[in-house]
Amino acid sequence: MTGANETAPLAAATGAPAQSILPFVAAVADGVIAEHAREVDRDARFPKEAFDALREERLLGAYIPTHLGGLGLSVSELYSIAERLAYGCASTAMVWSMHQIQVACLVHHASGDAFFHSYLEELADAQFLLASATSEAGVGGDIRRSIASVDRIEESATLEKEATTVSYGATADGYLVTARRDTDSDASDQVLVLLKQDQATLSQTGAWDTLGMRGTCSPGFRLSGRFHPDQILSEQFSTIATKTMVPMSHLLWSAVWTGLAADALRRARAFLRKKARGTQAPNSQSADHLSAASQRVQLARATARQALSSYTAELKRVGDDGDAFSAGFTIEMNNLKLSTSQLAVSAIEHALAVCGMAGYSEASPFSVARHLRDAYSARLMISNDRLSSVNGQLLLMHGD
């Protein structure tokens, strides 16, 4: 797209803090990403054009520190980017976010290991896309238990896993896979392994033909591969999950859902302005719906900003001394996800009420149909019922 070549060198040179990168993100989101969003959704295909543009802007290395060749952005800046990308295409924003979560696991927990230090440099340089393979058949949706294990054979290691869902598994350059530490380990004694694309054999085990988030291409895969033991992160997965994977997931997913709602609100406003220029004055019910949508977007954003602030504070508090995240923080992160998953759908429903048939149509410029379908994924990834249940239990003892 026009301007992309001029902007990429700028991003690399300045280490692009949010103020300078957001305009480029907005341009890409409203341009090439939005352009292909309907097709990506209709065909349930990977948003290739979007990722070509994101790579050109060096945005796959957003969270990698500048001394390793990345943009060195903060979690807060990642949130802003994810939200803005979702205006154009939620599948794109979600894939980008999921990739950032994997990168964050490496940056937070492995950049001290020689292998990962150099892998992060490679990732920033080549703009690799990293997928997550934490799900598994037979563990009932609990990512903190594994059946698959690492099998050490002399100088190398292998693993084999039935992952029930690997988003963008067919297009990823690498996978962070959870497995039991070794063949004798307990189900909850897990490690995280980086499996490179050229080391991995993947066979798709189902189809991805869903209500929404169709461009995330998340069917199940049987994964296997042989790798060097250096590719196993030394930090235990339980720590990685608590300190990085879970909080970053809830924060960035919330950004995507809020972006969807914000774009739906944008369309509802545009629809009413158009109506106001014509012969029909907008009725007071439309005004109420518009206000309700705006209120929900604001609430979602405010909850996320508060949670971002808590995450930064909690990271500072625990530092390097292995101290644990508080249960209160876990409750807050779960509440964030519960809230934004519900607020986003509700906001978009109000936008639909404003736009009427124009909103219900997939083809109209005021369409919020795909927005609603995409937002419905929020209650399922992961299940709101599971999170409520965990919070309910933790709240007996924590949560001041």
């Binding site: 644990a324 933790l394 007996l396």
Partner: protein, 86 residues
């Protein structure tokens, strides 16, 4: 008292080893007890000892070692329900 605590930990704490083999000051969270499991431990201890943990004792520190649990339960068992120790 220690034995009753060990029994509760055995059933509820999901530790990687038998509580009998744990030192009094070993961190239970490091030994595998999650925040989620600690709530089950708390409920089971209340049941076992016929006490109610007041808010001030419902924290990570109290539930982090067998020694701390013994101390906390010691306070509660000595007091009739509803009377806070000075």
């Amino acid at each position: 008292m220690r034995q009753k605590i060990e029994e509760v930990l055995r059933t509820e704490a999901n530790l990687g080893l038998d509580p009998q083999d744990l030192g009094r000051d070993v961190d239970l969270h490091s030994a595998g007890m999650t925040s989620f499991a600690s709530v089950n431990v708390m409920l089971a201890l209340e049941d076992e000892f016929g006490v109610e943990f007041p808010d001030r004792l419902l924290n990570r520190s109290v539930f982090s070692t067998i020694a701390n649990l013994e101390r906390a339960l010691g306070e509660l068992v000595d007091q009739p329900a509803g009377v806070e120790p000075r």
